[in-house]
């Protein structure tokens, strides 16, 4: 087990390092001199050259990258080109909003999506199932920003029951959470349905039915328990994606989260901020995936059996 965890942590760190290098090199392609951006348009050539030297911008890409990573490990993600504020502080300020949205959005999607997916699978090819599948298809085809605007038009601008933008009050979280939930729900419904259908075909389900277990017990005890792992993994991965992917929804509702931070920094060519934010998001996504992996190994007895067999030299 320990061996497995260390291996996973190492490969996770490698992926995060890879992402950082990718983003770092892409950002360094972007036109515009950071020294110029910091000093403004009126700066003299000498000042710019001096600042470039001071910031180490004249070193080659690899040197700059490893210096960045070395600082990042020590908790220094640099300072914003625009505000001069420490990147990490700004990220931590914005983090709670994004995490809350992801919890509300994915949580609601799971609580509604999983039962719907189960019903759909139990009643495969029935009217309920067909309607659900078409609805899920529609939900995956709706762009999140448009759905957000539609909800805003009706509930905020039309009926005025919730604020249109911002999260000054708790009501502000409602519309963005619903928008996120609808997009995530479609994925969760489809995944739950297909996993349940797969499990229904297993021999142990036939055995359970044959020994006279009630339908309810077959579905909820025998099938759901076995289908739960892939479903939980899907929910976890969606949660991870939401941490970085709620960009559009955050923009629609002007929520001061990581997504809007990335958009504004990208527009302003605030490279340290963009780098820091994406590194942060990537790290969180990898962490969530990693936790899912660990959970998987702990919960699935088959993985343990395989390991025992390996120890005994069976496979």
């Amino acid at each position: 087990m320990l061996n497995f965890v260390t291996k996973r942590i190492l490969s996770m760190l490698l992926v995060v390092l890879g992402i950082s290098f990718l983003i770092f090199s892409v950002m360094s392609l972007s036109p515009g001199d950071p020294a110029q951006i910091i000093l403004g348009d009126g700066a003299s050539q000498e000042d710019i050259a001096e600042l470039r030297e001071e910031m180490g911008l004249n070193d080659n890409l690899l040197v700059r990258f490893f210096r960045y990573i070395w600082n990042a490990i020590q908790g220094d993600l640099g300072n914003s080109y625009r505000t001069g504020q420490a990147v990490l502080v700004e990220l931590l300020n914005r983090l709670p909003n994004t995490v809350l949205l992801a919890i509300f959005g994915v949580g609601a999607a799971a609580m509604i999506g999983v039962p719907i997916g189960i019903i759909s699978a139990v009643k495969q090819y029935s009217i309920i199932d067909n309607v659900t599948m078409v609805l899920a298809m529609v939900m995956t085809s709706i762009p999140a920003f448009w759905l957000g605007l539609l909800l805003m038009l009706r509930f905020a601008l039309g009926w005025g029951v919730v604020p249109a933008i911002g999260v000054d009050t708790w009501q502000g979280y409602i519309l963005p959470s619903v928008t996120l939930a609808i997009g995530n729900m479609a994925v969760i419904i489809r995944m739950t349905r297909s996993t349940m259908l797969e499990v229904f075909r297993e021999d142990y389900i036939r055995t359970a039915r044959a020994k006279g277990a009630s339908k309810r017990s077959v579905v909820l005890k025998h099938a759901l328990r076995n289908a739960l792992l892939p479903i939980i993994t899907t929910i976890g991965i969606n949660f991870g994606i939401q941490l970085g992917g709620a960009i559009v929804v955050e923009t629609v509702f002007s929520i001061p989260g990581l997504g809007t931070l990335i958009i504004t920094s990208v527009r302003q060519k605030d490279i340290p901020m963009v780098m820091g934010a994406i590194l942060f998001v990537a790290l969180m996504i990898c962490l969530v995936t990693f936790l899912m992996d660990i959970l998987y190994t702990f919960l699935d007895p088959r993985v343990k059996i395989k390991k025992r067999q390996k120890q005994m030299g069976v496979i």
Partner: protein
């Protein structure tokens, strides 16, 4: 029992006579929603190709005409006009051209590059495989929109840069699907048999590997095309895709935001256009997946 056995033999011989393509079509046709999706897709393609014949791009979709701004849908302007007096109907139709062209180019490019990477990784295996797939892992572990956003930010707005950004974020998906297909095929008996007959590598790839990759890749391509259309509009909406002068659906919605309370149709119409075209692609993808699924064939 006897009858059903004969029937299956009969069916198989029909499939054989008509060829693989016909049998796929036969199964695809049974899925009504998939056929509807195909129909919608064909209509969209025809509209976008013939747009120049019956619409005036410069005059109706680009030029500002403040005299007729913000007119609700009427007989002259089927979908009304926007805040610059441009005809929304014309912009929607030209929008199909933009979305289709960019997503199609993206899919073809990422199919060629990603498919090539996946095929190499799967066929040769070993160190090359782990190196290539680790790089794909890295690309896949960032949400596509975030990756595309960063690339557009670095390269600047514009159609070409948008295509590059979208391609980079789509490449790993094709690499994975092609690699796993190649891996399952390459050790199967019929490949060994072909090798035993003395068929050379190139012939094996052309005759046996490629035909088997086509199915899963087409399914992947259609679903990815749907996702790409969504990505294009999302990027344009946040202002990092195409500029709002170009009639792109997401950019149109972004433009309409300010006046949305009183001119909601400016938000509704482009959104419906996105949903319809994305759904058509998704329906086709689902139908194709069922039609091509070898499990259903037996």
């Amino acid at each position: 029992m006897k009858i059903s056995k004969e029937q299956t033999i009969d069916n198989q011989s029909i499939y054989k006579q008509q060829g693989q393509l016909a049998s796929v079509w036969l199964r695809f046709r049974k899925n009504k929603l998939a056929v509807l999706g195909l129909l919608i897709f064909l209509i969209i393609v025809v509209l976008s190709i013939t747009a120049d014949l019956w619409l005036d791009y410069d005059k109706q979709a680009i030029e500002h005409n403040m005299g007729i701004r913000l007119q609700s849908p009427n007989s002259d302007h089927l979908f009304g006009t926007d805040q610059y007096g441009r005809d929304v109907f014309t912009r929607i139709i030209y929008g199909t051209r933009i979305s289709l062209l960019i997503s199609l180019l993206t899919i073809v490019l990422s199919l060629v590059i990603g498919g090539g990477i996946g095929a190499m990784a799967g066929y040769f295996g070993g160190r090359l495989d782990s190196l290539l797939m680790r790089i794909m892992d890295i690309l896949l572990s960032i949400p596509a929109i975030l990756l595309a956003l960063t690339i557009v930010a670095a390269l600047g707005n514009g159609i070409l840069n948008l295509i590059i950004a979208l391609t980079v974020s789509t490449i790993p998906r094709f690499a994975y699907i092609v690699r796993s297909t190649v891996l399952t095929i390459k050790d199967q008996e019929f490949i060994e048999a072909a090798k035993a007959y003395g068929t050379n590598n190139i012939q094996i790839i052309i005759k046996h590997i490629i035909p088997n990759i086509i199915g899963p890749t087409i399914v992947q391509a259609t679903t990815n095309m749907a996702n790409t259309i969504l990505l294009i509009s999302s990027l344009s909406y946040v202002g990092l895709g195409l500029p709002s002068s170009i009639p792109e659906w997401g950019a149109m919605i972004s433009d309409a935001k300010e006046n949305m309370r009183h001119f909601a149709y400016l938000v509704y119409i482009p959104g419906i256009a996105i949903v319809i075209s994305v759904m058509a692609m998704n329906l086709i993808g689902d139908g194709l997946r069922d039609a091509l699924d070898p499990k259903l064939r037996n």
